[in-house]
């Protein structure tokens, strides 16, 4: 059982999200894609949790389920002690003032027919945070300033901006309601290297300034290492390892984490390291392997791995791992 420390702002317990697979003329449900399958974790106030994994591991679905952008199949999510998943529509709307999201693709997540003022102002209107038009404009300018844009941009449309600037607009929109927590789904993966650094630094600055708590969902382990305090590694809908950053990167325990870390190309031609090349692909989440989900690709797998699913257990202080071979 996971020990939830004091000061946990968000607590996710046994979260599951299954997508039905429908087939045939009558669209009968023939199976489920288990995108998120029994995931539990917590986020402390003011910290950054990095959620990493390869495509299809369920990291984004986890984020969406917390915000109820996807309806979770089972599980509980507590924010400040309040259960979110069972809230009614009105209370959920209030709750969304506390938790906001930034999306991956700054090209697709802004309405091309709206000006920047309308995009950011819409949030203020929806939550009735401003009364007059002047007040709205003032607040939008303030928000744009905090993300490094100025009021010249108020009347411009998204297509007039570069990718990095668009991501800044997305961040300004998320900040509009003064949230406590921001879930960022691949916030920099669509951006160029030089712009990526600007956005990463901005996220960090804002965290200090507003005391934000982040969940950063990303596939780039170098970015996650830079930005996170703690990291959870997901594989096929499960968390396989979770620890503070130092423990995870310096002393990774799960064979998947080890392989993932060793697979990252290091920008230093003199840096030699042992590379673990994983064989094969990630299995389909519609039909995950019995036992440990990683065993078909694991070099050390033995009989128990094929039969019994490992639990996420605490190996050291706050270092959790789901592997039979570690203990």
């Amino acid at each position: 059982m996971m020990v939830i420390p004091d000061g946990a702002l968000l607590q996710v317990e046994h979260l599951k999200k299954y997508f039905p697979i429908k087939a045939g003329l009558l669209k009968k449900t023939v199976g489920y894609i288990k995108a998120v399958d029994d995931v539990s974790f917590f986020v402390k106030e003011g910290e950054t949790l990095g959620l990493v994994g390869e495509s299809g591991c369920g990291k984004s679905t986890t984020g969406y389920s917390i915000l109820r952008l996807e309806k979770a199949t089972a599980g509980q999510v507590y924010f400040n002690g309040q259960e979110i998943l069972s809230l009614n529509k009105k209370s959920m709307r209030e709750m969304r003032k506390e938790i906001q999201i930034i999306f991956q693709d700054p090209y697709a997540s802004l309405n091309p027919r709206m000006t920047v003022e309308e995009i950011v102002g819409e949030v203020l209107d929806a939550h009735r945070l401003v009364k007059k038009k002047e007040e709205r404009r003032e607040r939008v300018v303030e928000l744009l300033n905090s993300v490094g844009l100025d009021k010249r941009y108020l009347q411009r449309f998204p297509h007039e901006f570069s990718g990095g600037q668009r991501q800044r607009i997305g961040i300004a929109r998320a900040l509009a309601v003064n949230p406590k927590m921001i879930i960022a789904d691949e916030p920099v993966s669509a951006l160029d290297v030089s712009v990526q650094a600007q956005v990463i630094n901005l996220l960090r600055e804002l965290q200090r300034k507003f005391g934000l708590t982040y969940i950063i969902i990303a596939h780039d382990l170098s970015v996650v290492k830079h930005i996170s305090d703690r990291v959870a590694v997901m594989y096929l809908g499960k968390i396989v390892e979770m620890s503070d950053k130092r423990g995870l990167y310096a002393r990774s325990l799960h064979p998947y984490t080890k392989a993932l870390l060793s697979a990252i190309p290091i920008p230093d031609p003199t840096y030699k390291k042992e590379r673990i090349i994983l064989q094969g692909d990630v299995p389909s989440p519609a039909n995950p392997p019995v036992g440990c989900r990683f065993y078909p690709r694991c070099q050390k797998a033995n009989k128990i791995c094929r039969e019994v699913e490992p639990d996420l257990l605490e190996y050291e202080d706050q270092h959790y791992v789901a592997c039979h071979l570690v203990s």
């Binding site: 600037q165 290297v193 030089s194 990463i200 382990l221 170098s222 290091i266 230093d268 994983l278 990630v282």
Partner: protein, 367 residues
Amino acid sequence: MTGIRLSIYCIEIIKSKDNAKRPKRAKFSITFLTLDLKWVKLLTKEIRLEVKNLRTYFFTDEGISKAVDGVDFQVFSGETLGIVGESGCGKSVTSLSIMRLISSPPGRIMEGEINFNGVDLTKLETKELNKVRGKEIAMIFQEPMTSLNPLFTIGEQITENILKHENVGKKKAVERAIEMLKKVGIPLPEQRINEYPHQLSGGMRQRAMIAMALSCHPQLLIADEPTTALDVTIQAQILELINELKKKSDMSVIMITHNLGVIAEMANRVAVMYAGEVVEYAAVNDLFQNPLHPYTWGLMNAIPRLNREVEMLYTISGVVPSATDFPAGCRFHPRCQFADQRCQLEHPILGEIGKGHMIRCWKKSCS
């Protein structure tokens, strides 16, 4: 020629030793000979591709987009040249120009030479060009889903290339396609060959693309962001595969990517591109240990690294300029912290600063 003569001489020595019935010694000489041949290969490295002053422009409603504006580089036999840069720097247009895949209009190769084994590709007619493309020069693209035809099986697409370029029958071509699929590590190639692209995973599709590209044993492989759409563990598989296949042949590779990690692992020499130009050109170790152009230096410090921890990342201020409207003088000067008046007015040339290390910068150093 001297190399060949040298090896013949070596064989002669071994023969004489064989006659003297000294098998141990002979064995030793054979290993020595293979080593020697490797040396000969290294010493007789020839220029396989030479791009000279390439300019590819696009004529659009917004104006003339100078996507590639005066690019020079060479690729030697058996080496990997990395081209690195951010989106819009012209790295992909460079590779498409080499393959003559620029659609015209709006694009046009305005100037320059692309000498492949001494033949200028820009001057070839389509018919002659088609003999080179897919056979001597092959290309793999970033998104295997959009570059494979969804209506044909993997096998049909690979055999098409073989049948077109080689004088073999259908049966032989299929055999060769299976062999290629096996070579790139696709399990059960006999079955996979009859599958359509959508039935394969992303990594498998990229392998199939590589199999297709290598089916006619090209001398030059252009890989345009071959792993960008893939997960890191799959990326590691594909990069290893390309390196392995390269080791077995004398193939040259142009590796185009925005990922400095991939460059560090794959390339022998690197060209850094910015705003349609090469701004730094050096051997890979030189470049990473001693980046001299402020842009290269900035890029290297802007990426978070696993083996280094910093509080805040270095940022290059501003954005990449539009290809229709490059700044006067040095194209990087509005974003450069070292820029002075000369940088604003005069356009720098790509000049040699150390042995085989060239930069396009007036300041000659970013330190």
